[in-house]
Subunit: 528 residues, 2 copies
């Protein structure tokens, strides 16, 4: 009977295990390899920030898994669960609402980490994560929308300022690269917008420590800091992001930066599936032995960012691509030893260096102990990553895009696919206005947590507590808002768009009645 | 005081009016030009189908309006209304929920047409329109998802067949180009999918007349038909699409083609804003005089697909780019005559020819009376459109993409941005199954129109009529569906995803009670 190796996750770790297995199993058909990933492509993570400024094309940074893994069964699905005793993985339903169960002989866990804003007020509602291609696309679209709106909102200086301020939280490699690319995009684009003065644009990098890039030496960090400042990035050190709303980024200590665009690269959490597994963890990462077996089981392997992998010298492997790919070779080889007999080997790789791009022909790098910065570092950075890109097709496309980028201004297309607003949660901090008297009314709010006050002019006419509806009048009449609602304490609301409300009110009898009752009570109270 | 020309619409018609005005107003600052469009880019419509097969990049087919129109005030907003008496245009709110009002001295209406599936059963819920960039992106993503799912649904031959059948309705230029590109994509991609036999793929073009491409001569149409058939496109003539469901395309006469992907390029309707204007129309298009004035007003002009423009020889201009751009010159010149004095001129352009691509180095063209087909037509087609693309940057990018396309296989990346399912309507035709006993339950249904039956095994246990809920148990327990629901008459339902239902049930008291009542009644009925 065929034996089956199931790999969970299609990042560097998972894909490189599959590639190594494919190469070593070339002439054998007694072992099959299955890889499960939620997207049908592999993201070349180091180049993802370049998508923001458009230096490379939207899809140049990813490779379809099927092109990469020609002898692996790729399943593009969410994973519902893993049963270590029954040795099965359950996949979420696809077109047809029935789950799929896959049996394994060896399981490879390479699920990486997820962005998770748990416990940070308002971040999951209002901060942009930056982890995958959809995040990059959403961020870029939002930034361009902010520019479009700023260009025609000449009469509202406060709104303009908010629209033209872009905040990135987190000063590690990822945050610095995002800030650099965002800055390149906005400053390159703004010259095409009549009615925006380039001096109005502000890009702010917020970092909790006293220097950026803790991953590299102080000298390289200082170089990066100087470079970014020279390009117009404002760097706020020793500042920690604490909360977010649609209107501002709130720092610890209470200072609020008015912004419509907040990116947070900070919180990486273990994948929920890893969390749920009954295997020993440290800091959320799966503990593995030097052979990369997890939980002392002979048939479960873990690697990449979701595992705490012991490296030579008594340290642990850092969560980067160069380490994940080396771990992948060890896992693949050890699984084949387990299947065929033979002595497993431990991980011996200690790392070659670190690199980070600063955009526009500048970078910092520590390679084999050398500190390099500026154009040379950038040139090395590009060359290494271009050669590491999987497949000649992709390399050609990226090289072509890089060449065209030298000639052409940044891409300004706002690519919207989702036009219907859905039911969403929103967060407000004290003093913020939910809506003004006279605004158009486009949604009903339900107050989940916190308190707000209702103002007509400057007179307070009511106070709202958890459970209260507000803004309901606008759903019934087409008149503008008849009062202002201002937040008293930090507050979470559920916003129900007019269209959804209309559908529900028509077909779910309870909804209409509830809202009508509130309206009636309020109008009675007002006329009394 | 400055006079203001406001142009509504950023297609060929609107953009070329603005370009002509910019050129002629170069040294004047007494006239300002405003252009309003819902997207921040101009779509080069003739190349849009190429996005499907990925011959050109996703954003190569569009140009940011601000790059194209450097002296025009571009407003990226929806239009809420036009007041011809007050001479104002009201724009929908942006970030801030307050509408914007713009005064005009001259109004140019260039709103084109919209896809509208009104009156066709199930099309607005289940057919893909193909009009703008978002449509192209959504279609491509869906097609790749269908391939991904087919590759792993080995156990369900019916589902597989449905996933691997792609139907395009409408055999004019637009439908033929979409079918050709879709066919190229699917047949090029499928070789990368282990577990799909290329022979399983079916692309069907449905057309209501007895030959495709009514726009060109019978000889060219016959050439196109032969070419498409040779590439594996099945052409169904004298067949009219009548209804659509998630499971099939239903033809007039009742035949149902099982498919998960139906594209309809057919119904072009007037823009709702044009419909609402108190100006004379014919077949939904604004009637204009030979000078392109609408409704006999000296300050309102209309052109492009939303206008019925008299052309030389007593005919009307067809709705294509070459005519829209010539009309644009006439409108721009006549507006300047109206502002400055001078004699307006009528439209004199009668058309140069017609072209349509068949994908993969083949096309048909009628140019200056000559019929050309095959490679030569394709070469002319590419050259003409490349030269017509606005801006050297875009030309360079498209030329580079076309060159790479000769070397590389089609792009297989499924680019998802919207992951949360929203409240949606769905349509079913008689006999179709909404869900099976044993399926996972992920949504609640509300029956809007039509009838259904509830089956346990083959036994009918209940009948459902308009207003009934079903599938509600799955929202309360996590158990699989305990019965099958099958459609009796054509039926529309509202599907409420579990997440939305959960949010609403928690916070809108009426919702939970309504559903609980139904559950209680049903369990009582069952135990009785």
């Amino acid at each position: 009977m065929k034996r089956r190796i199931v790999i969970l996750g299609g990042g560097f770790a998972g894909v490189y295990v599959a590639r190594r297995l494919e190469r070593r199993l070339k002439r054998r058909d007694d072992v099959e390899v299955v890889l499960v990933n939620r997207e049908n492509y592999f993201v070349f993570q180091p180049l993802l920030p370049e998508v923001i400024s458009g230096t490379i094309g939207l899809t140049d940074v990813v490779t379809p898994l099927r092109r990469l893994l020609k002898r692996t069964d790729v399943h593009v699905r969410e994973i519902d669960g893993v049963d270590l005793e029954a040795r099965t993985v359950t996949l979420a339903p696809g077109f047809h609402p029935t789950p799929q169960v896959i049996h394994y002989d060896h399981l490879v866990i390479a699920l990486g980490t997820v962005t998770d804003f748990r416990g940070m007020r308002g971040l999951s509602e209002h901060a942009f994560p930056f982890k995958n291609l959809a995040d990059a696309l959403r961020l870029k679209n939002h930034v361009i929308r902010a520019l479009e709106e700023a260009a025609i909102e000449g009469d509202d200086p406060e709104l303009r300022k908010r629209l033209l301020t872009f905040v990135v939280a987190g000063g590690g490699f990822s945050g610095v690269e995002v800030a650099a690319e965002l800055n390149d995009l906005v400053r390159g684009a703004v010259t095409s917008y009549r009615g925006i003065d380039p001096k109005e644009v502000k890009v702010v990098l917020v970092h909790s420590q006293d220097r950026i890039l803790p991953e590299v030496s102080p000298a390289l960090a200082a170089f990066a800091e100087k470079k970014l400042r020279a390009r117009g990035v404002e760097i706020r050190l020793n500042a920690r992001l604490e909360a977010a709303t649609a209107q501002s980024a709130v720092l610890k200590g209470g200072e609020a930066i008015a912004t419509a665009t907040l990116v947070s690269t900070v919180p990486s959490f273990p994948h929920p599936l890893v969390e749920a597994l009954p295997l020993e963890k440290a800091g959320g990462r799966l503990i593995v032995d030097p052979f990369l077996r997890a939980g002392g089981r002979p048939d479960v392997w873990a690697l990449g960012d979701c595992a705490r992998v012991p490296a030579p010298g008594g340290v642990f492997s850092p969560p980067t691509a160069q380490h994940a790919t080396r771990q992948a070779d060890v896992v693949a080889d050890n699984i084949l030893c387990a299947l065929d007999g033979g002595a497993a080997g431990p991980l011996r790789f200690a790392g070659l260096g670190k690199m980070g791009s600063l955009g526009k022909r500048s970078a910092v790098a520590e390679i084999l102990g050398l500190n390099i910065s500026g154009f040379l570092a950038w040139f090395i950075w590009r060359t290494i990553y271009l050669m590491k890109l999987p497949g000649w097709g992709r390399r050609l496309k990226v090289a072509a895009a890089w060449t065209l980028d030298l000639l052409l201004p940044p891409e300004l297309v706002q690519l919207r696919t989702d036009v219907t607003p859905a039911i969403a949660q929103e967060h407000f901090e004290p003093g913020e206005i939910v809506f003004h008297e006279g605004d158009s009314g486009d949604r009903l709010y339900i107050l989940l947590r916190g308190q707000a006050e209702v103002l007509i002019g400057t007179r307070r006419v009511a106070e709202l507590a958890a459970g209260a509806y507000f803004g309901e009048m606008a759903l019934v009449t087409n008149a503008p808002r008849n009062a202002t609602v201002r937040c008293i304490t930090a507050m979470d609301v559920l916003a129900l768009p007019k269209r959804d409300f209309g559908l529900l009110a028509t077909h779910l009898p309870g909804v209409k009645q509830s809202v009508e009752k509130v309206i009636e009570e309020r109008s009675r109270a007002r006329s009394a």
